[in-house]
């Protein structure tokens, strides 16, 4: 019994203390995957804030955009032209979704819209594999001028490796978040979007129709998905198995609250770092693979104590 308690509450921390360089490495790895979770969650929050739709397809949009980019390049399109074309495709997607799906489902209960986005997920998976094939592809990292080397840091004789891709991912994610923040606070359209998030009537007074707002938010979420797709693809590969990982945006959202952008970021980092630490230091006690469920179980436990998430407003029920 004592041995068990020690191996849960003692040994992992001793290990962290004794091998600080490894500990830093683990934190860094967790941090980077946390950023990617945060990016997916961010796209989700954008849509939820503007339209109250729980967009289950956000994770698939990540894969779909990555696949489109790689697929276009494979057809001989130069990398940056392919990037532009993918952006156009994401716009077309947003436009099509608004026209064919959302517009026809206004005023339906949330659960119906949610289920429609699950249907959308199917369409994107099937469509993506149909057009681009279902085999795993690698991201056109060097073509997009993303650095691929690595740097070594030796704190006190230890060894920590930083992949340049990871650094780039962190930097690009930060840039994206800053530019979104600027977009929302400085531009007219952005402010309108914020207004509509608070009050649907408000949008009319700003002179932008609800339909346009939906296209814009879904497009913005598509761009965020594309960035996440590129960075993720660069770290591993582009394939629809990413979809399972993309689902992890959901516990991130639970942690951060569905409507909070800072929540998505903090939640992503907590989940990313937390699950790596858990996998490495406590995972061996249970047999590996705990990464698969850790995020969900943490989110679940967390929900029991704070059903509205970290940054969400307290849910008040009235009659």
């Amino acid at each position: 019994m004592d041995g068990l308690i020690y191996s849960i509450l003692g040994d992992p921390f001793v290990q962290m203390w004794q091998m600080p360089d490894f500990f830093i490495q683990v934190i860094w790895e967790g941090f980077v995957s946390g950023i990617l979770y945060a990016l997916i969650a961010l796209g989700f929050v954008l849509i939820f804030k503007a339209s109250g739709i729980f967009n289950f397809a956000q994770g698939i949009m990540v894969v779909f955009s990555g696949l489109t980019l790689v697929g276009l390049h494979a057809l001989g399109v130069p990398a940056f032209v392919a990037l532009l074309m993918t952006i156009v495709v994401m716009y077309g997607l947003a436009f099509g979704i608004e026209r064919l799906v959302l517009r026809n489902l206004v005023n339906q209960p949330d659960i119906i819209l949610f289920m429609a986005t699950i249907g959308l997920t199917n369409i994107l998976i099937g469509g993506g594999q149909w057009i681009f094939g279902s085999e795993t592809k690698s991201m056109i990292t060097t073509e997009l001028l993303i650095p691929t080397g690595s740097s070594v840091w030796e704190p006190g004789g230890g060894l920590v490796i930083f992949q340049h891709i990871d650094i780039a991912a962190a930097v690009i994610a930060a840039l994206l978040i800053v530019s979104l923040a600027l977009f929302f606070s400085k531009t007219k359209v952005g402010r309108a979007l914020r207004a509509v998030a608070d009050d649907h009537q408000a949008s009319l007074s700003v002179g932008i129709s609800l339909n346009q707002i939906w296209v814009i938010t879904w497009f913005a979420a598509g761009i965020v998905a594309l960035v996440a797709g590129i960075m993720w693809g660069a770290r591993s590969d582009v394939s629809f198995s990413l979809q399972i990982i993309a689902l992890k945006a959901l516990p991130v959202l639970v942690l951060g609250g569905f409507t909070s952008v800072p929540g998505a970021i903090v939640g992503g980092l907590i989940i990313g770092v937390g699950e790596k630490l858990f996998e490495i230091y406590w995972g061996p006690l249970l047999g590996s693979g705990v990464e698969g469920w850790f995020a969900y179980v943490i989110a679940l436990v967390f929900l029991l104590f704070r059903p509205q998430g970290l940054f969400g407003e307290k849910i008040i029920e009235r009659v």
Binding site: A116, I118, G119, W130
Partner: protein
């Protein structure tokens, strides 16, 4: 034109409260039942090769109808979205495997029905958070169940009797001298066992949803606060829904492995399957027993028929057809949500109503 309500006077409330108050509905069901019992086991489906019809269509459709019934109780009747169906089916399957390992002589049908209780218990456990968590947050809770259980199916080697392949392999079991499970079991036997269990579970589900318990589920679904102020205990209502729903899923999981697949690994219970079952329920009709039948039949057979069509008529590669059917199903889901959010069952009902007042237009 024969579908008329007029002239059938109900003499008592008891008659009025029957599952099928209309004579035409009773006749319709009777015909389906006769076909299912006396035609299909011997001749399969018209135009299809017999073993294909049984193994690829009839048996899985019946099994997934049980799943859909279970999921519909949770999603359609109680309004609690779940993406953990696959895993709850897994619990039933592994429970059945363990039980028949320990009690090899007990009637396998009883074991299958008993393994549902294990899954009911696990389902109720994971349903506990639903008391505090609502709506989309609950989706995350059920995903926790899905992924945690999937992990257990891999890591807890005891569950598959330490089989190095990690799979459960169905042993041969006989009931009254007839081989029911294992490679030697005939499709007709397996089909009839599944059909029997399905009919039994359908009657029970129908009884439950029309009575006090089903009403408490629907009250929670439609307006949980009002339900509580009227005297429904949310914990009891939600947990009973989770338990009953998971019971159905568990039984269908056990049937899936024991009477259909013959062997299974964790992939048979993954989250993609959970989506598939949710589609069946949405497409067939949320909160409808008939809808569960229609949804399971449609969502399961549609891709198969599409694939056959592609192969035979257009000579298209089956992988492409798989993707085509993914897209088609996705589009159909979106389409039905737009046109009739209550699914095929509602369309069917509306059709019947039209028929009932025919030839008068309104």
């Amino acid at each position: 034109m024969f579908y008329r309500e007029a002239g059938q006077f109900k003499t008592s409330y008891a008659e009025y409260l029957q599952a099928l108050p209309l004579r035409e509905d009773k006749v319709g069901i009777a015909i389906w039942l006769l076909l299912a019992v006396f035609y299909v086991p011997f001749f399969g489906l018209p135009g299809l090769e017999y073993t294909f019809a049984m193994n690829a269509i009839m048996i899985p459709v019946l099994i997934f109808t049980i799943t859909a019934l279970g999921l519909n109780i949770l999603v359609g009747y109680t309004g609690q979205i779940s993406l953990g169906t696959g895993a709850f089916m897994g619990v039933g399957a592994y429970a059945c495997y363990k039980l028949t390992t320990y009690f090899p002589d007990v009637n396998i049908i009883l074991i299958i029905l008993a393994s549902g209780f294990v899954s009911a218990a696990v389902g109720a456990l994971f349903g506990l958070p639903s008391l505090r968590i609502k709506g989309f947050y609950l989706v995350v809770a059920t995903l926790a169940a899905q992924f945690f259980l999937e992990w257990c199916f891999i890591r807890v080697e005891w569950l598959y009797n330490y089989n190095p392949s990690g799979a459960i392999e169905v042993p041969q079991r006989e009931v009254f001298g007839i081989v029911v499970t294992g490679a030697a079991a005939s499709p007709a036997t397996r089909y009839l066992v599944v059909l029997g269990i399905l009919i039994f579970l359908t009657i029970i589900a129908g009884n439950l949803v029309r009575g006090r318990i089903g009403r408490s589920w629907m009250m929670i679904r439609d307006m949980d606060i009002a339900a509580e102020l009227i005297g429904v205990r949310p914990l009891r209502a939600k947990l009973s829904a989770f338990a009953v729903s998971s019971y159905y899923c568990g039984v269908s999981g056990a049937l899936m492995v024991f009477l259909w697949l013959g062997a299974a690994e964790v992939e048979s219970f993954d989250v993609n399957h959970s989506f598939l079952y949710l589609f069946m329920v949405i497409f067939g009709g949320l909160g409808s027993i008939t809808g569960s039948y229609m949804g399971a039949a449609f969502i399961w057979t549609f891709p198969i028929l599409l694939k056959e069509l592609g192969k035979r008529v257009f000579d298209i590669d089956s992988i492409i057809m798989e993707n085509v059917s993914l897209v088609a199903i996705g589009m159909l889901i979106v389409f039905i949500l737009i046109k009739e959010p209550h699914g095929l069952a509602r369309l069917w009902q509306l059709g019947k109503q039209k028929l009932r007042i025919w030839p008068f237009a309104h």
